[in-house]
């Protein structure tokens, strides 16, 4: 029932039309379906039994009017119901999209894209079908059934009781249908979801597949998913193929019972022939109802297994969200100080950061270096709460980031992430992603600043060139520069550059650094890098090893310490190993 209530909520804005649809279907179309044949039997009675052909024309006109209203009401019902279904679909889509946007990285790390997509496509479509067809037909069946038995009981209680002997069998079939349908549809859905996830991954990995010439292997893996899905599909659809004919057979049996026992009653004079005909002529009320209820039950099971999955997504808890009474404070010209106070962080049992203390004054540049996997990216992700600290706190402008309104907080920090993601949109929209109000001139300025302008202007449609998802089609360095322009265009007081220049050459990096340094409103900048050249001009450089800060200071101070930084410096200067103490310039 909660699911039905849920649908009702999402019909908001379309409830009246939807209700009209159900009314047209059940209170207009359905009675007309019963009235039409009655008019015709009245006509036959009048003409043949009573020899009164004059009423024929008026009765036929009546019949035609019933036909016209019936057709119109059918059209109205079908359309209004579909509108309801489409409305619910659109409303769910919007709501789930909003939900997705509120979920944190934990969720996206743990849930495969193909699985989320399954919920947004197949499952929602099942809900649409349920709203637009199943619900009204459920009412339709119940009404047919009630009408049928009302007529039966009022005509002959005895015959009705005999007819009712089929009901337990129907109940058993419906019960079994429901049970199996539910089980097999769940399985089918799961197989569909894993096929989705597999194909999605394969498309994303198309380069790797080709590079390793693994097309045949992938075809084999695909075949497994495809066949599992096929077999599950055969089972799921087979449920109806198996039980549907049982229901049809019971309908037939019902008709046979009516005529056999009715016939005997007529012969024994315990029932009139007219009553038997009435019974027989209206038996379709019951048989149709039974046949449709089978479909309704079957489709409902699909609906329940889909809503279960959609609800799961719907009820996913965003683990990073606003606190009560969050601080709504947009950045101003004084914003930009960042402080880490004894920060610790762990992924599950795997500790990544321990006791990090770090301070950045407004306008300062902070360099962060350290071995692969030492927690550099995790550290900068804590600033705008892509992850939450486990111990300690991160402060921006003296206030704990957890106290900020999330949107405001993220207005404070512009990221150029290590794993560059661009949208399949044109270059200027990608640069203006965080700041849609930019003029073309401003967009160009940011592109110049990140040294992207030079290659963009050589593209066929310049800034209007559409680039692909994940920015494929561009070289690594080109992607990084567009991502950098996007981060700069955001104009946040804090800028985080996570390995942003690893794929650009030295000259370009040097140029970009100059551009950054010469900005009027200098941003507080965090630079995560592997190259000494990227961080050596920083106001302070932190060395992260095994989740702890092991060294910090300026370039000169760190060199004097002859620690990790010095080693790296020596290696990058050209010596193969610092032990050899030779720097061949």
């Amino acid at each position: 029932m909660t699911q039905i209530k849920w649908i009702f909520q999402h019909l908001k804005g379309c409830r009246l039309r939807y209700a009209m649809g159900i009314i047209l279907h059940n209170l207009v179309f359905l009675p007309l379906m019963i009235i039409g044949p009655m008019i015709l039997s009245e006509l036959i009675d009048a003409v043949y039994a009573n020899g009164n052909p004059d009423v024929a024309v008026s009765l036929l006109i009546k019949y035609l009017i019933v036909g016209v209203i019936g057709a119109v009401s059918y059209y109205g019902y079908a359309l209004l119901q579909d509108m309801g279904g489409a409305h619910v679909l659109a409303s769910f889509r919007g709501e789930l999209y909003e939900k997705l946007q509120s979920l944190s990285m934990n969720f996206f790390g743990a849930t495969r894209t193909g699985d989320i997509m399954m919920r947004l496509t197949g499952d929602l479509d099942t809900i649409r079908h349920f709203t637009g067809w199943v619900l009204s037909h459920f009412i339709y069946c119940v009404l047919l059934f009630i009408c049928g038995f009302a007529v039966f009981f009022s005509t002959s209680v005895k015959l009705t009781l005999i007819v009712m002997t089929t009901l337990p069998f129907m109940a058993i079939v419906v019960y079994k249908l429901r049970k199996h349908s539910s089980k097999y549809h769940r399985q089918w859905r799961e197989k569909n979801s894993s096929l989705n996830a597999y194909v999605q991954e394969n498309i994303a990995a198309n380069r790797i597949v080709k590079a390793f010439a693994r097309e045949k292997y992938e075809a084999g893996r695909f075949a497994k998913h495809n066949e599992a899905y096929r077999d599950a599909g055969i089972k799921a659809a087979g449920v109806w193929a198996h039980y549907g004919p049982y229901l049809a057979a019971l309908s037939n049996a019902l008709n046979i019972l009516i005529l056999v026992f009715g016939g005997i009653f007529v012969i024994n004079d315990t029932m009139s022939l007219a009553d038997l005909f009435l019974f027989y002529n209206l038996s379709w009320l019951i048989t149709d109802s039974v046949n449709i209820i089978g479909i309704v039950i079957n489709d409902s099971q699909k609906f329940f297994s889909s809503t279960h999955k959609v609800l799961q997504l719907y009820n996913s808890v965003a683990d990073i969200k606003n606190c009560e009474n969050p601080l709504v404070k947009e950045p101003d010209e004084n914003s930009g100080t960042v402080e880490f106070k004894n920060v610790s962080f762990a992924y599950g049992s795997h500790t990544v950061l321990k006791d990090i203390c770090l301070q950045a004054e407004k306008g300062q540049t902070i360099g962060i270096m350290g071995p692969t996997g030492s927690g550099k990216t995790t550290l900068v992700m804590l600033i705008a709460r892509f992850l939450d600290v486990h111990k300690g706190s991160v402060l921006i402008d003296g206030t704990d980031v957890k106290k900020y309104d999330l949107n405001c907080l993220r207005h404070h920090v512009g990221y150029a992430m290590q794993d560059v993601f661009l949208f399949s949109d044109n270059v200027s929209s990608n640069i203006a992603y965080g700041n849609a109000s930019l003029s073309d001139e401003e967009i160009k300025n940011y592109a110049v600043m990140s040294d992207a302008h030079n290659f963009i202007k050589r593209m066929p449609e310049k800034y209007d060139t559409v680039i692909g998802e994940r920015g494929v089609g561009l070289s690594g360095g080109q992607k990084q520069r567009i991502a950098l322009a996007r981060a700069l265009a955001y104009e946040a007081p804090i800028l985080v550059l996570d390995d942003t220049t690893s794929a650009v050459d030295m000259e370009t990096e040097h140029y970009i650094q100059e551009q950054l340094a010469s900005r009027k409103n200098k941003q507080t900048t965090f630079i995560v890098a592997q190259r000494i050249s990227s961080v050596k001009n920083a106001d302070r450089i932190y060395i992260l090893q095994d989740g702890r800060i092991t060294e910090s200071g300026t370039h000169e101070e760190l060199l004097a310490k002859k620690g990790y930084y010095y080693d790296i410096f020596c290696i990058q200067q050209g010596a193969n190993s610092p032990d050899e103490e030779e720097v061949d310039v």
Binding site: V57, Y63, L64, G67, Y74, M83, A90, R93, Y97, Q101, M105, R112, T113, G114, M117, G122, V199, N202, R207, V209, F212, R214, E215, Y217, A219, F222, Y229, R230, A237, W240, A248, A249, N252, N255, I256, L259, V260, I264, Y280, T372, G373, N407, M417, D419, F421, S424, Y433, F455, T465, V466, G468, G473, S475, G477, Y490, V504, D505, M506, Q530, G574
Partner: protein
């Protein structure tokens, strides 16, 4: 990737409908005939069982009529019971045959779509990079999974039902004319509105169905991209804008569906209307004529009229379904029709195990016509040499190594490996001997062990671990809670970029390639790890040809030869020392780094 700076192919965005040039044609349906024919036996079996159940079903009203018209007036209880038993028997026959028919149809339908999906997927594997680069992945997904699902029911039931309905359309008039010719003619005139309707709505219905499928495809593409780019969206606080876009797209989709339904739903009421009109006409002519027709004839004709319209209505619905299916088939076949561009040439031979001599002779290459990326590039590499490619971003370094694996075909010139033109050998034999470490590392959802073993199918754990040790990935892997069995998520989200590179490096090594290509393979690693990796590699590289692209010059200065790529060709070439002495572009690059 790489260097399509001067010309990018026409791309598709999430909110741009894909244009299909081809008009609706029966061709798409005919083409699916290839799949249908394979299952002709099953479909015929389904048809026969279906026919039996229909004939049995026709007999039941006749039996019941016997009861009312013969046995009740004759007060023949025994006759009634026997007829009832025969009826019960027929009911069982109907039930069993329709169960068989249903199961055959479902199995056939699901098998046909799984075959279509298989062909689609296998063809997809042969499509060039460009195909994947030029449209949102969501749009490809929708075709391979969702559209194929949509057509399943057509193949399961639609085909058999069309035949059955068409057959009824032939049989029923036969009975009709046997009963009364005049009334039959009246009923047959009902065909006229049916045809008129189809002729007038055909195009519009199809167009609307197509618009809806476009909108659906767009929104799926947008969702998929949104999910993959969620971190960016959140970091730029773009949620509201994106929600607006998503809601607009959902509304578009909704409106396009309703728009299509406006027309599609006219069919059934129209037929109901015509059917009612025909019924009126039958009664009118039967009663209003000079002589009254017997009541039995009227009832029979009215029943036939209904029976005659039912297949028409069913065919009408099937027609709508066919329109939808054709729109989807069009999309599906469009993928199958996309040329692979790069495929084995006729008579391609298997490249024998290579020693690693590589030669480029006057190689010219362009992604788009008249926008050359490389012009007359020539160089030769002896087996076992290590070659570094340097130069400005976007100069064509990645392009050169991509050409070597034949990810793209060159415009003119020749590339040979051990003297074999790579154009004349099978792609599989060529690529399986190249170890390419791509700029974008890709980690599959699964265990770390599985990811490494992707490089060599059937590799033992020991081999995989040995490869991981060589690239110094072993230490970090065993420090993870479950070591090699640690499950990483899609795109390796739980690993750092450097760790992903290490795993993908181990994967490449395990494939034991004759030629190793490292495209920014170590860019995200810290300098020490990189150094260790290099030391491990040095042993491995002995005897193997390798191409290395890197921006950190410390990575490449020990290579046998360094080529500076710029301006569509090789600007400088030589050892580190030679190039430094030459005081050219490389020298500038090198000193900038030391600066």
């Amino acid at each position: 990737m790489s260097t399509k700076t001067s010309e990018l192919p026409r791309r598709n965005k999430y909110d741009v409908d894909e244009i299909l040039e081809s008009e609706f044609s029966i061709e798409h349906l005919k083409r699916s005939g290839v799949y249908i024919r394979r299952h002709a036996k099953s479909l015929i079996a389904a048809f026969i069982t279906s026919l039996i159940s229909i004939l049995a079903a026709l007999a039941i009203p006749y039996l019941l009529m016997l009861i009312t018209d013969e046995f009740i007036p004759a007060k023949d209880i025994r006759g009634i019971i026997i007829t009832g038993l025969i009826g019960a028997l027929l009911t069982v026959v109907i039930m069993v045959t329709s169960q068989i028919k249903g199961k055959i149809c479902i199995k056939t339908g699901q098998t046909i779509v799984s075959e279509i999906r298989k062909d689609l997927f296998e063809h997809l594997q042969t499509l060039p990079f460009d195909y994947f680069d030029s449209r949102p992945h969501g749009k490809i997904m929708v075709r391979v999974v969702n559209y194929v699902n949509t057509i399943a029911d057509f193949f399961a039931n639609g085909i058999v039902n069309i035949v059955i309905e068409l057959l009824s359309l032939v049989i029923i008039p036969f009975f009709m004319f046997a009963t009364d010719v005049k009334l039959s003619v009246i009923i047959l005139t009902g065909f006229i509105p049916f045809f008129v309707y189809i002729i007038f709505t055909k195009k519009a219905i199809r167009r609307r169905a197509r618009i809806h499928s476009n909108k659906n495809s767009n929104i799926n593409a947008y969702y998929q991209e949104s999910i993959n780019g969620m971190r960016i969206t959140q970091s730029f606080s773009r949620e509201d804008t994106n929600l607006q876009i998503a809601e607009n797209m959902a509304t578009d989709c909704k409106n396009s569906l309703i728009n299509a339904r406006y027309l599609q739903h006219t069919m059934s009421p129209l037929f109901k209307l015509v059917s009612a009109l025909m019924t009126c006409l039958i009664y009118y002519f039967a009663i209003g004529g000079t002589s009254l027709l017997p009541v039995g004839v009227i009832l029979a004709m009215a029943t036939y009229c209904k029976r005659f319209w039912q297949p028409l209505i069913n065919l009408g619905n099937l027609y709508n379904q066919i329109q939808d299916v054709a729109a989807y088939l069009e999309r599906i076949f469009e993928i199958l029709d996309t040329p692979s561009l790069i495929h084995d040439e006729e008579g391609a031979i298997k490249l024998p195990p290579i020693t690693g001599n590589v030669e480029f002779c006057d190689v010219c290459f362009e992604y788009e016509e008249d926008c050359p990326i490389l012009e007359n590039v020539s160089f030769s590499v002896n087996a076992g040499q290590s070659i570094a490619l340097v130069g400005p971003t976007g100069a064509g370094k990645t392009t050169i190594v991509n050409l070597l694996s034949r990810f793209y075909d060159i415009k003119s010139g020749k590339i040979t490996v051990d003297g074999y033109n790579i154009h004349d050998v099978t792609l599989r034999s060529l690529r399986s001997q190249m170890g390419v470490m791509l700029q974008d590392t890709f980690i599959f959802a699964g265990t770390i062990m599985d990811n490494i073993k992707y490089g060599k199918l059937g590799a033992t754990d020991e081999e995989a671990i040995a490869a991981a040790k060589t690239v110094c990935a072993h230490d970090f892997i065993i420090s993870l809670p479950k070591g090699y069995d640690t499950v990483v998520s899609e795109r390796g989200a739980s690993l750092s970029a450097g760790q992903r590179q290490l795993i993908s490096f181990a994967r490449t090594l395990l494939s034991d390639p004759g030629i190793l290509i490292l495209d920014e393979a170590t860019s995200a690693m810290d300098t020490r790890t990189e150094l260790l990796v290099q030391k491990g590699l040095n042993n491995l590289l002995k005897g193997r040809t390798s191409f290395i692209i890197a921006h950190r010059l410390s990575t490449i200065k020990n290579c046998d030869r360094i080529m500076y790529i710029a301006d569509k060709s090789i600007l400088e070439s030589g050892t580190h020392e030679e190039l430094l002495k030459a005081h050219g572009a490389y020298y500038k690059l090198y000193t900038a780094q030391l600066d």
